[in-house]
Symmetry: C2
Subunit: 246 residues, 2 copies
């Protein structure tokens, strides 16, 4: 009964259940046995909608929960005292947000939705409790944290030693890989973020990002129409990432 005056089958709000979530092969449940999975269902007690442009959390907010992206797209960014800020990552379905908060019980970055999004709320102390009982869950959680560290090291390599073209190519290759593993096309994508946000992530100015897109287009690597990208030469892009010399 969605409208009060008609008698219809009441549609249950989709139960939040990791065991039946189509993201379970990307998210926290990865690798868990069926019984463990069902216990995990007790963990995620709520969902939360975050409209485009709104913050899921901000630096300084008290930390209680991790968040798993169910639908939508986020950016995380840190800022220095003098106002400069740096996008530290973009998160899509199945990826975890909030790991930064564990260290001081306060978040140290902002997480902002780049489109209308929905997240699963995972109370952290519950997760710790459950992972004391299930070694597989414990292991999976540790892998996720470690993966984030490894990813960050990759970004440092990018920021510390690559030129603009290599950075943008690496960004696009990474993005398409992640989209592909979620069932999207490997060759066409819609960017959820502005040139400025891409630039912030890559340590470049927005004009440089725009110019580099144009250059890639001239070279026949991409077709760029605003935020719509078609990858014309996957191999060419890959070569750029690993240095043009090899």
């Amino acid at each position: 009964m969605n409208s009060p005056h008609t008698t219809t089958i009441r549609i249950e709000p989709l139960k939040v259940a990791c065991s039946s979530c189509n993201l379970r092969e990307l998210c926290l449940p990865l690798g868990l046995s069926q019984p463990d999975l069902e216990r995990l269902d007790t963990l995620v007690d709520a969902r939360r909608s975050v409209p485009r442009g709104a913050a899921l959390f901000r630096a300084g907010d008290p930390f209680h929960s991790l968040f798993a992206v169910r639908t939508g797209f986020f950016k995380t960014c840190v800022s220095s005292e003098d106002g400069r800020d740096q996008v530290t990552g973009f998160q899509m379905a199945g990826e975890l947000l909030g790991l930064d908060g564990i260290s001081t019980d306060r978040h140290s970055c902002d997480a902002v939705a780049l489109e209308d999004s929905q997240v699963c709320v995972i109370p952290f102390s519950d997760l710790e409790g459950l992972s004391r009982e299930f070694t597989d869950l414990q292991r999976q959680f540790h892998k996720i944290m470690s993966r984030e560290i490894v990813r960050d090291h990759g970004v440092m390599l990018l920021l510390g030693s690559m030129r603009a073209e290599e950075r943008l190519a690496a960004f696009l290759v990474n993005l398409t890989q992640r989209l592909q593993s979620r069932g999207f096309s490997a060759s066409a994508l819609v960017l959820r973020m502005t040139r400025e946000e891409i630039g912030s992530y890559l340590g470049l100015k927005l004009e440089t990002v725009s110019r580099t897109f144009s250059k890639f287009q001239e070279e026949g690597l991409l077709e760029v129409k605003q935020r719509h990208i078609r990858i014309a030469d996957q191999e060419g892009l890959r070569k750029l990432v690993n240095g043009p010399n090899c």
Copy 2:
């Protein structure tokens, strides 16, 4: 009585015991109760010496253990397919090495001793086991991983948005803070790494690092004599980090 031809009391090799380690307030044991601490002693089953220039582990090595620096100094670095590499961090006493290995059961970076060093070997499955029993240990370990993520985000901010002078100032301020919390002087330090390694960490060329040191010296911020640094104007350095405008 240290000479071989005298009969003396045999000096036991110092027992590896977290509960009596002078680094316990910086390292994994931080915040643990006395009984927990004593259980932790069973965890660290060996020490390992790493001579200067040698690797504790290398990218691709199988991952079994974490390492806590007891004495000495390390760098970690990742490298891209085409041979460029990036120093991702410098580790000193009480800091953990090897967190990158958890994600894939293989290390993804090299850890190299910059001076003769000694580490405590922490078998990871033992740590996971113990942290299933002691919530405080579990929490502390999670905080350490999270802290590494937060630190990495700080480095991204540095690499993505700071100029050479700000980067070097931030590096020095960070280094002296960590040394100070280990009981060393806040104003004098000896760099364990080359200009090239500093440059790699900061995303700069070694010449730029050297020039920036010279500039700081001219401005009266530092006294630089090769790897010996004396900080003459702590406040001046700090101002540089947070942007010269504020």
